[in-house]
């Protein structure tokens, strides 16, 4: 970017002098947005770093086993939804550049609808996890609704002593206190044993899963707010074919949201 900036400065030295270009410097605005996107990448990068530190070390097998609990179908569907929304975002910008306010609005609207679709699918995905007692240990209202979280205790010592494979270990039904279901219980009694056992690595996997997809979902919601703002701007014609810097920069942000999901999807859903 420095080279672009330098080139630009060299080409129109006089024109680009500060008094003349201030507040209309689209290149500068874009540079600022790119820098902001770098910070977003580093923000998520910190979490990816933690994920790699855990997922490639002693918890590698745990991560593989835990990944099997995630619904690849829903994850892939969400990937498709977000990728499509990136496409419609590009259409929205191109339409505006070509002077069609109507098609720009249509495509912004589709992008918003797709973003909300992503969140709806996410809602069903998370709800399914909660019903299986999979949610971070300290969330009171979920505990009140679904009972104690299975992630509240990590059964590493028991796993080491059990002599079972990780898959077998995970299948053992336990009660809320972690006691395995004894043989020969009646069907009525067996209902108490609806919990599962997870090793430490799997607890971390789900902790990271909820944190990272949660933070990503938060970014999607911010994106929706920005897109609504863009819709309003195009409608009111403050964002036009001659002045589309805002729309383009929101588009950059939206692609970043998409890009981060492109990394989250394989690292969580396909790791199994």
């Amino acid at each position: 970017m420095s080279s672009i900036a330098e080139q630009h400065t060299a080409e129109n030295q006089e024109e680009l002098f500060h008094f003349d270009h201030h507040h209309t410097d689209y290149e500068g605005a874009k540079l600022g947005v790119w820098l902001f996107l770098f910070t977003e990448l580093v923000l998520f990068g910190g979490m990816f770093l933690a994920l790699f530190a855990y997922g490639t070390g002693e918890y590698a097998t745990d991560f593989h086993a835990a990944g099997k609990n995630l619904n690849v179908f829903k994850g892939a569907g969400n990937t498709l939804v977000l990728l499509t929304s990136s496409l419609t975002m590009v259409y929205a910008i191109t339409a505006l550049q070509k002077g069609s306010k109507f098609w720009s609005l249509v495509h912004i609207a589709i992008t918003i609808i797709l973003a909300m679709t992503f969140m709806v699918i996410k809602y069903f995905e998370w709800s399914a996890k909660f019903e299986h007692h999979l949610f971070p240990a300290k969330i009171g209202f979920l505990e009140a609704k679904y009972g104690q979280s299975d992630l509240k205790r990590a059964y590493s010592a028991e796993f080491a002593e059990s002599g079972m494979s990780l898959a077998e270990f995970n299948k053992v039904k336990v009660d809320v206190n972690g006691n395995p279901m004894p043989d020969g219980v009646t069907a009525e009694e067996a209902k108490k044993y609806t919990h599962h056992r997870y090793t430490r690595g799997q607890v971390i996997f789900f902790g990271m899963y909820f944190t990272m997809t949660g933070l990503h979902g938060f970014h999607v919601l911010i994106g929706v707010a920005l897109l609504l703002w863009m819709f309003w701007g195009v409608l009111r014609e403050t964002i036009t074919a001659e002045n589309f810097g805002y729309l383009e920069n929101v588009g950059l942000y939206w692609h970043l949201v998409d890009l981060i999901w492109i990394y989250l999807f394989p690292l969580f859903y396909l790791v199994a």
């Binding site: 900036a5 400065t9 201030h22 500068g28 600022g32 979490m47 855990y54 992630l151």
Partner: protein
């Protein structure tokens, strides 16, 4: 891709204002820009970079005073062994808040947000920064985070709802204590999170400004070194601060939801927290010091009336420090449990940072050589920076060496070392910058004799206080302890006496500036004979768009001897 450029309102405005100013100047009327008694909204709603810089200056110095009070509380408590007047719990909160306030509210925003905001656009011949509204928003974030940090001292209640629990555990907020403690950690951590974003947006603004708004005749290697320092700092702020953002956010998430990432009972790893924390916080050390180096480069060149020695090596060493600074974080963790290979690599890289730092120190000395040195207050403070920071650097080498580090880790030696670098470096550079640019910023000149006396008290007190810490640390006094063995009494008492002397010096120094602010003599356009744009082209005090007309730039920033740089 082509952009249609609208004719901005700003262009017309600038032309009109320039006309007005020129008329004003011809008529000999004074510039009312720095009317301190102006309506409040002309300050807190202003997007002018100079006013924002001064807002930062006022808030930063206010928090500096709070930080000093907390630090002095620590010194009084340590006057004798045993409990004097605050309990161990309160002591923990006091040193935690001392650290949080001094680091996040004083040293980090000190030079970039105050003097960077004020002088970066002037140094590059621009009218303002690239994103003036974002600039003001950064200040609001800063104040929001700052007030939250201050409030966290008073509003926290423990599980029983009665007991008062201010945040503790040190400014580093190490897990697992921070993730499990029954104190008001979340609020202090969230404050630091917000302050981090304020810092990011300032950095983002500066990088863009330097890329896009330089005077057409000012090429990269003709920028003043202060601008280069801000550029390196801004990149660190942009690329490192998000890591502390996410790390602190994870502490809050861990405390609120129990995800287990730093909790060993759930499979997490507390050492991971230390890694993620220092990946930001070590580069942040250079955020505190590099701008100071930029300031001192300006001061030393101006006050010895010499072209800065080795401009290119100055630039490269600054960028080198910023770059290598990313790869040394784990030297804070030699005793935390790492492989021997990692320890050796991080130890080596730590020594490596000393090389560009030494390049700068030798360049400063070479600049002084054969110069006509003028020992005015800014120069005295600037030279103290070099002296004190060198002591900080040398004591740091002992800490970078694994063998000695294991001996002195978490002792007062470390406390002495980082006060020499952070306060003797960053803090002294802030005071030096304040003395250097005070006449330009406020159009008033302060009393030199009083300034020298204040400096004398400060310098003696500083070395007494932190020098005694180095010694008591080598003797084995652990840091952050509320109590100590009787054999350390003498050195602790010497330290407290040093603190009294140092604070006296600071009161004299800032009192002198405060008196000058309202009653000082009118300052000249260029009292020090500087060669950068703020002295040669910008009126004193600066006008709204900085220059009466497009600034002339026909020589380099250090053109004392007919050279371009």
């Amino acid at each position: 891709m082509s952009y249609a450029v609208n004719k901005p309102y700003y262009e017309d405005q600038a032309v009109v204002l320039a006309d007005i100013y020129e008329t004003m100047a011809e008529a000999g009327k004074t510039n009312k820009f720095f009317n301190f008694l102006a309506w409040l909204h002309t300050w807190v709603l202003s997007t002018d970079h100079k006013r924002i810089g001064i807002l930062y200056l006022i808030s930063m110095l206010a928090f500096f005073a709070v930080g000093i009070s907390l630090g002095f509380t620590i010194r009084l408590e340590l006057l004798w062994p045993g409990e004097q007047f605050i309990s161990a719990t309160v002591y923990n909160s006091v040193f935690t808040l001392h650290g949080v306030i001094m680091i996040f509210l004083f040293v980090i925003p000190g030079i970039p947000a105050v003097f960077g905001n004020f002088f970066l656009p002037i140094h590059i011949g621009a009218a303002d920064v690239q994103f003036p509204r974002l600039n003001l928003a950064s200040w609001y974030m800063f104040m929001g985070g700052a007030l939250m940090a201050a409030m966290s001292l008073f509003v926290g209640y423990g599980a029983n709802g009665v007991e008062w629990v201010a945040p503790d555990g040190g400014w580093t907020f190490y897990a697992p204590y921070s993730t499990t403690a029954n104190t008001n950690v979340s609020m202090a951590v969230f404050a630091a999170f917000i302050l981090g974003f304020s810092s990011i947006f300032t950095g983002l603004n500066f990088v863009t400004t330097i890329h896009r708004m330089r005077h057409p005749k000012q090429k990269w290697m003709q920028m003043p070194l202060f601008v280069w320092a801000l550029y390196g700092t801004a990149w660190i702020q942009v690329l490192a601060t998000p890591v502390i953002g996410i790390t602190l956010a994870l502490i809050i998430v861990e405390r609120a939801f129990g995800i287990g990432i730093f909790d060993a009972t759930l499979g997490g790893d507390p050492v991971l927290y230390q890694h993620m924390f220092w990946i930001y916080s070590h580069p942040a050390v250079y955020v505190m010091v590099i701008p100071g180096m930029g300031v001192v480069s300006e001061i030393i060149a101006t006050f010895s009336q010499r072209t800065i020695f080795g401009y290119t090596s100055m630039v490269l060493s600054m960028i080198g420090i910023a770059f290598v600074g990313y790869f040394v974080w784990a030297h804070h963790m030699f005793t935390s449990g790492m492989s021997e290979a990692s320890v050796a690599i991080f130890s080596f890289l730590t020594f490596f940072v000393a090389v560009p730092t030494a390049v700068k120190v030798f360049n400063w000395l070479a600049t002084l050589y054969k110069g006509s040195i003028q020992l005015d207050p800014p120069m005295i403070w600037g030279l103290s920076f070099v002296f004190l920071f060198s002591i900080g650097g040398f004591t740091g080498l002992a800490l970078g060496m694994v063998n000695t580090d294991i001996h002195v880790h978490d002792t007062y030696y470390v406390v002495g070392h980082f006060h020499y670098t952070m306060f003797g470096g960053g803090g002294v550079a802030i005071i030096a910058a304040l003395h250097y640019w005070f006449p330009k910023m406020f159009g008033r000149m302060y009393n030199f004799t009083v300034a020298h006396v204040g400096w004398g008290f400060f310098f003696v007190g500083f070395n007494t206080l932190y020098g005694s810490m180095l010694i008591v640390g080598l003797q084995g006094m652990p840091r952050r302890y509320h109590d100590y063995l009787p054999q350390f009494t003498d050195l602790h008492q010497i330290g407290t006496v040093g603190a009294v002397i140092m604070i006296t010096g600071l009161i004299i120094t800032f009192g002198n500036l405060l008196i000058a602010l309202f009653g000082g003599d009118k300052a000249e356009q260029n009292p020090w004979g500087g060669k950068t744009l703020e002295w040669e082209e910008c009126p004193t005090p600066p006008v709204l768009i900085n220059f009466y007309k497009k600034p002339r730039l026909d020589h380099g920033p250090y053109d004392y001897e007919g050279e371009w740089v």
